[in-house]
Amino acid sequence: MNDKKFTIQKEVMADEVIVYLSGELDLSAATEMREDLEPFVNQTNRALTLNLKDLKYIDSTGIGIIVSILKTRTAAGAAFGVEDIPAKIKRLFDITGITQYLRPSNGSAERKEDIV
């Protein structure tokens, strides 16, 4: 099976990891994403940020993964945020009600201040 329709890129910094998701996050991408992110989800000393700028598709599978990361991070008292959410993905976050729990993480907020 060729033709990567979903890719994950990571920018690892001293106190933050930014994970760039692009393409289609569907059931066929779920296992890869869970396994790939697990170590970073469990690293509570670094803020974790998901950047969704290039995400083209998500369904309840992907939303479920985000919910589970959110729960793990919250339970561990570790920073977690989601940024650059495209309108069509935001609409699904609103419908499911996950929006209320998502804000850019502290790490990402500082990063932005640094740049501006």
Binding site: D26, A30, S60, G64, S68, T96, G97, Q100
Partner: protein, 150 residues
């Protein structure tokens, strides 16, 4: 409109995660041909994928993986999409009663699953489920017509 009503397109794929994108692609082709907007097509893509995901994940548990068959029919009012598997049945009325969003919930109460049926209902105009032999999910989206055409 008799001709239109009897026309349908169907696609059949193995009940495996990596084939669900083929169903989304076929849906895209059909729905844009039949005049749905980009936003409506995106909604339908997710709803149809939720029904296919359920067939992949739940229908053939503990038995040999079968197929998912998706049928697209256009009639005057809109598109009717039937997602069918030949897996084990389940109590839809019970699951439907539990289908809800994460609104008004505390983070500690929510879990990572159980959004599929809710999403189908939120994204389509009508959802019907038959669980006699396997599962048949019937998703309907009405076609919004322009004023001039009405």
């Amino acid at each position: 409109m008799n001709l239109q009503e009897s026309q349908f397109v169907s696609v059949r794929v193995p009940a495996e995660a990596e084939f669900v994108d083929i169903v989304r692609l076929t849906l895209y082709g059909i729905a844009s041909k039949w005049g749905f907007s980009y936003e409506e097509i995106e909604d339908m893509k997710v709803a149809v994928a939720e029904a296919c995901n359920n067939a992949v994940l739940h229908a053939y548990e503990g038995m040999e993986k079968g197929f998912v068959e998706v049928k697209f029919e256009m009639n005057d009012g809109g598109i009717r999409i039937t997602v069918k598997d030949e897996g084990s049945s389940f109590d839809y009325a019970h699951k439907e009663a539990k289908a809800e969003s994460l609104h008004n919930k505390d983070l500690s109460e929510i879990n990572a699953g159980g959004l599929g049926i809710f999403m189908m209902q939120a994204l389509m105009d009508d959802v019907e489920v038959h669980t006699n032999a396997g599962t048949e999910v019937i998703l309907t989206k009405f076609l919004q017509r322009n004023e001039e055409l009405a």
